[in-house]
Assembly symmetry: C2
Homo-oligomer: 69 residues x 2
DNA sequence: AATTTTTGTAAGAAAGATATTACAGAATTT
DNA sequence: AAATTCTGTAATATCTTTCTTACAAAAATT
């Protein structure tokens, strides 16, 4: 599995969590402290998130960071 | 568990793998394509590695990226 | 003990991630 | 259908990570 698939996988997981929790990109962005545009790109696998940001998201949704991989 | 602990945890894991495989920081750096200084900082929990670099290391050591978390 | 190898550390440069702004299209709501 | 909310996208700016260079300390080897 290459880095592109990892990007898509992480993006999909974030989007799923966001939808499950009935949040808009903007709401999630505000909670996590990042821009909506960046979240949009991450969800579509265009940008790669840092470990620190991924950690914040995992914390917010109360899941283990492992579950993104 | 905060981001500082995650840094230390990742650094320790990388160092352990490197020692187990009898590599110097310089050798690992060359294989992975990153600087020795940066690996030194990562191992000591001073710098936080990106997901892409972490992925390269996991691939080199043939382990799952989950195992860093 | 001297030599060589390995590692820590710092300052500045380069690269990459993320923010900001702005606008358009899609989806939803009224 | 109009209005509102939500999302995609691009260009530029800002911030953080990573590299480069250089030197010193520590550890291993001879």
């Amino acid at each position: 599995m290459g880095i592109r698939k990892i990007k898509n996988q992480i993006g999909k997981k974030i989007k799923d969590l966001r939808i499950e929790n009935d949040l808009s990109q903007e709401q999630l962005a505000e909670y996590i402290g990042m821009s909506r545009e960046h979240i949009s790109c991450i969800e579509r696998g265009k940008n790669l998130i840092t470990i620190e940001s991924l950690y914040k998201i995992s914390k917010y949704f109360k899941i283990n960071i492992k579950d993104f991989f």
